[in-house]
Amino acid sequence: MARTVIPFGPQHPVLPEPVHLDLVVEDEKVIEARPSIGFVHRGLEKLAETKDFIEFVYVAERICGICSFIHGQTYCQAIETIMNIAVPPRAVYLRTVWGELSRLHSHLLWLGLMADGMGFENLFMHTWRVREKILAIIEATTGGRVIFGSCKVGGVRRDIDAAAITRILGELNEIEKDMRGLTKILLDDNSVKARLCGVGVLTRAQAHDLGCVGPMMRASGIAQDMRQLGYAAFNEIKVEPITRTEGDSYARCAVRCGELFQSLDIIRQAFAKIPDGPVEVKVTGNPTGETITRTEQPRGEVVYHLKATGTKFLQRFRVRTPTFANLPAMLQVLPGCDLADVPMIILTIDPCISCTER
């Protein structure tokens, strides 16, 4: 059988951002996938050498337009660790709430894109209609829709008052009803199952050996979630990782569906426990030291490695994003699949090229 090389991307209907694969195919079967990234590499790590470390949170937030808040939060946590800054408890809870709202809108975005990718247009539009409600809460509490701008070194810039909390909790009840309907279709509909079940299987051993993170890892049976480290308010709000064992595209979808309701539960717990008090502390001086900080973004573990030498500029700002860690697994599951399944498999890792091209 003659082999053909089919270029996939960097512009492709399922890819909002550029990544390229040379797909070596025999008939309809993919034999090999050769990746090429770096089309929009922005050099943000280098920028830290010339940008004030306090202002740099704005840059960190812009590493990604979807998990923006948790990038800012992780950066702030890293600086606060180096400088021994005790963040007020109320700010810690607010960060937890915004982080979970961020996860909700990211997962709903992905579920909609997946429906769109398989041609299920009304499911796509319904999913994004629900996502709009989350974005409205985010806009009402932070002023932004995807770039929150609410996290700062030493705390947060905004508070959420009691009346707003009551209103948000009411809205979350409505959103939960909507999400129950959505996930029923996503998990039970035959046409969805036909596109996802048994497609792009990643075993538990492969997920571990290839360094997978996030829903990609948990869908292959590995119960690991960086929220278990206890950062932000997660030392008081316990998180049990949502896992599946099938390791296929359906399992990855199911994990994200489960995490929607987990995030709702975390937000409710956080609002029930949030203490009164200030939301920021004054930060003086420059950082000296080093830390490696990990948090759980919607797409999985993100790693921030910061080094500072006492000036207002960081010596090193290094970010290992979840998509970067999941790329080897994506390349692992493509060989052997049908050409028509390639877009769905790529979608199910929830690729964020913006993160990868930080």
């Binding site: 090429s36 990234i37 770096g38 089309f39 590499h41 050099g43 280098k46 050498e49 010339t50 946590q77 660790t81 180096i82 400088m83 021994n84 571990h208 050996d209 290839l210 360094g211 690991q224 960086m226 278990q228 480290l229 950062y231 001086g285 420059n286 950082p287 000296t288 030291g289 080093e290 830390t291 490696i292 900080t293 990990r294 573990e301 790693v303 490695h305 080094k307 500072a308 030498t309 006492g310 000036t311 500029f313 010596q315 090193r316 290094r318 290992r320 970067f324 860690a325 790329l327 080897p328």
Partner: protein, 151 residues
């Protein structure tokens, strides 16, 4: 979260140390490089049950060669190709070598040398020989030197 262990090693034992971690079932979390005035500092991070441990080694700043660990951890190819493209470190034995075409940067090897400002900033030099584990724990800013390989 900042109490992760760093074990400082030399390049000749890198393979042995990494293979031992693979044997223990540790996950390769990341490989991070930092350009220092006279060295390239590499940090290999591993996770086992959410406990992070790190191997650290120093390479010469120029004509830098590094043995690949991609035959031990396949996913290392991404980190090692990135380190080559950004830091001008020649990685030997890569199982998949993009030959400088992995990251498309407008400036070749953007971390390939140290700017004068960074030389001034890096006030605390790093010694390569020490082998005792150190931690990343920062202390009060004024009194805390950079937590590097110094034993």
């Amino acid at each position: 979260m900042s109490q992760e262990q760093i074990e400082t090693i030399t390049v000749d034992v890198l393979w042995e140390k990494v293979a031992a971690r693979r044997q223990q079932g540790q996950r390769l979390v990341q490989i991070s490089a930092t350009r220092l005035p006279e060295h390239v500092e590499l940090t290999y991070s591993f996770d086992l049950d959410r406990v992070l441990t790190n191997l650290r080694l120093l390479l010469p700043g120029q004509d830098t060669h590094l043995p690949s660990i991609s035959t031990i951890y396949g996913c290392a190819i991404l980190y090692e190709n990135e380190i080559h493209d950004l830091f001008n470190v020649q990685v030997d034995g890569l199982t998949v070598d993009f030959k400088g075409n992995f990251m498309k940067t407008s400036v070749k090897f953007p971390f390939g040398s140290v700017k004068a400002s960074a030389v001034v900033a890096a006030a605390t030099p790093v010694k390569a020989a020490a082998a005792a584990p150190v931690t990343l724990a920062p202390a009060a800013p004024a009194a805390n030197p950079a937590p590097t390989a110094s034993a």
